[in-house]
C-alpha cells in the first residue's frame, strides 16, 4: 500500500501542477475570447458602415480583456489562500490559548511529521458545525483550518484523522489546484455580476445602432449572419461562465476526497478514526454557515449539506462536490478490516 500510494503521489503532484497551469491558461483564454470575440463582432458590425462612421479595426477589447484576465489570474493565484481564509472569517492560532487549541497544534505537528511536510499554519473558523479545509499553493506554504465545532466534538484520534486527511490534500498538491480554482471561480462570478449589469445598459444603448447596421448589411448578408452567430455564442459564454466554473469546481474535488481519505489513513494508520470522525461530521447535519459556496470544494465534507452528495451517478455526478459520505465511511472501514486481517488481529467469528 505504501509503495503504491507513494508512486501515485508523484504523479498526483505532477497532475495537480499541470492542471493548475491548464486552469490558469483556460481562464486567460476565456477572457481573451470574451475580448477578441467582442472586437470581431464589433468589427463585422462596423465594417460595411459608411466611410464617415467609426470602423473598429484595432482589437482594443481583446487586449484589455486578456490583460485583465492575466492580472486576475496572477492576483488570484498569489492571494488565493488568504482570500479563502478571509472569506470564512478564520483566525490564526499563534499561541494556543486553551487545552483544545494546544491539542490541535500538537496534532497538526504530529501529522506534519507523519506526512513529511513542513507544519502548515493553523486556523480556527468560529462555527459550531464540524468541518475542516486546507488551502495553500505548495507544501511549504499551506494552511489548515478547522471549525470550532470540530474541535469541540472530536476526540484526539478523530481530530488527528481529519488533520491527516487535510494534510493528504496538501501533500499531493490538491490545495494548489483547488485554491486557484476557488480564486478564479470567485473572480468569474464577480466579473459576471459586474459586467452583466454594464452589458444590460449597453444593449439598450446599442439597440438603435444595431438596427441600422443590419439594414445596411443587406448586400453582405453572409457577414451579418456570421456576426449574429458569433454574438449568440458570445452572449451564451457570458451567461454560462459561472455555471461552467461551478461544474469545474465540483468535478475537480470529488475523486480527490477518496484519495485524501486513503492518504490520511496511511499517515495515521488508523482508518477507523477517520470513519468515526466522518460519521460525527455527517450526523451534525447543520450547514457550515461560515463557509460559502466558493470554498465548498475545499472542505472535508460539503459545508452546504446538499442532498446531492448522498448519491453517486446521474445528476449527482454533475452537481455534487463531495462523494457520498456513506461510501467514504464504507471504504475506510474496509481499510481498517484489511489492516486487522493483515496483522492477524481480526477476531475469529
Amino acid at each position: 500500500m505504501t509503495d503504491d500510494t507513494s508512486l501515485n503521489l508523484f504523479q498526483q503532484q505532477e497532475a495537480n501542477r499541470r492542471r493548475t497551469v491548464i486552469l490558469v491558461i483556460g481562464f486567460v483564454l476565456f477572457f481573451a475570447w470574451l475580448g477578441f470575440g467582442g472586437d470581431f463582432i464589433y468589427y463585422l458590425a462596423t465594417s460595411d458602415a459608411g466611410p464617415e462612421t467609426y470602423h473598429h479595426t484595432f482589437p482594443w477589447f481583446g487586449l484589455v480583456m486578456t490583460a485583465i484576465g492575466a492580472g486576475i489570474a496572477r492576483y488570484g493565484f498569489a492571494t488565493g489562500p488568504n482570500k479563502v481564509l478571509w472569506s470564512t472569517g478564520a483566525r490564526e492560532v499563534v499561541e494556543p490559548a486553551t487545552d483544545k487549541e494546544r491539542q490541535l497544534v500538537n496534532v497538526v505537528e504530529e501529522m506534519a511529521i507523519a506526512a513529511g511536510i513542513p507544519r502548515p499554519r493553523i486556523w480556527i473558523v468560529p462555527d459550531a458545525d464540524p468541518n475542516a479545509f486546507a488551502t495553500g499553493l505548495d507544501q511549504g506554504h499551506s494552511h489548515i483550518a478547522v471549525t470550532q465545532g470540530l474541535l469541540d466534538m472530536c476526540s484526539r484520534d478523530e481530530l488527528q484523522a481529519v488533520i491527516a486527511h487535510e494534510l493528504g490534500h496538501v501533500k499531493n498538491l490538491d490545495v494548489r489546484l483547488m485554491t486557484t480554482l476557488a480564486a478564479l471561480v470567485g473572480a468569474v462570478a464577480l466579473m459576471h455580476d459586474g459586467v452583466g449589469r454594464l452589458m444590460r445598459g449597453g444593449f439598450r444603448l446599442g439597440g438603435g445602432g444595431g438596427g441600422g447596421g443590419s439594414r445596411g448589411g443587406g448586400k453582405k448578408g453572409g457577414l451579418g449572419q456570421l456576426a449574429i452567430i458569433l454574438l449568440v455564442l458570445w452572449v451564451i459564454t457570458w451567461i454560462l461562465a459561472p455555471i461552467i466554473s461551478q461544474f469545474l469546481a465540483m468535478a475537480v474535488s470529488r475523486k480527490r476526497e477518496y484519495l485524501a481519505d486513503a492518504m490520511g489513513a496511511q499517515f495515521t494508520r488508523n482508518p477507523m478514526a477517520l470513519a468515526t470522525a466522518l460519521q460525527k461530521i455527517e450526523s451534525a447535519d447543520a450547514p457550515t454557515s461560515s463557509i460559502k459556496r466558493g470554498a465548498a470544494h475545499l472542505c472535508i465534507a460539503d459545508p452546504l449539506g446538499r442532498r446531492m452528495n448522498l448519491h453517486e451517478g446521474g445528476m449527482a455526478n454533475l452537481l455534487a462536490t463531495h462523494p457520498p459520505m456513506a461510501a467514504r465511511i464504507a471504504r475506510l472501514k474496509g481499510m481498517a478490516y484489511q489492516r486487522l486481517k493483515a496483522e492477524g488481529q481480526f477476531p475469529a467469528t
Binding site: T2, S6, R102, Q103, E110, A114, G116, R156, Q160, R269
Partner: protein, 196 residues
Amino acid sequence: MGGTVILLIILAVVVLYGVSAYNGLINLKNQTLNAFKQIDVQLKRRHDLIPNLVNAVKGAMDFERQTLEAVIQARNQAVAAGANAAPGAMKQMATAENQLTAALSRFNVVVEQYPQLKATANVGQLQEELTSTENRISFSRQAYNDTATQYNTKQQQFPTNLFAGIAKASPAELWEITDEGERAVPQVDLSMKPKA
C-alpha cells in the same frame, strides 16, 4: 543511415532513463537521511520534556520515587546513546529509547492512579505534551520506515538496481521494535463473543 538514427535514439532513451533513475535514487537517499534526522529531533524533544514532567510531579509523588528514578535513568541513558546518532548506530539508540518508552508508560500508569494529580492543570498539560511527543516519535519512525522501504525497494527493483551502484545506494536499516515487552500488544477483548 536509418539504423544509426535508431541506435542513437535507443542510446538516448537509455541514458535519459539512467539519469532519471539515478536522480530518483539520490532523492530517496536524501529523503531517508532527512527522515532519520526527524526522529532525532523528536527524541531530543522528549529528552528535554522529561525533566519538566518529573519536576512537576516530584512533590506530589514522593512515594513513587522508584518510578521517577527509573524514568530519569532511562532518559539519561537515551541521551547518552543519542549523542552519537547515525543510521549505523541505530540498534543501540533504539534499545535505549525503547527502555525509556517502557519507563514512561509505567510512569503514565502510576499517574493515572492519582486523579487529583492528573487534575492539576500543569500535569494535564504535560501529559498532553508527553502524548504528543510519543506520537511524534512514532510518526517520525513511521515516516522514516516508509521512506527507507521505498528507497530499499527502488534499489532492488529491476532495472533501477543497475544504477544503484553508481548512485552509491546501500540498503537503509529500518527502525524496528527490539524490546519483546513492547512488541506484545496487550489484547483486550470486549466483544463478549464466545471464544472460538
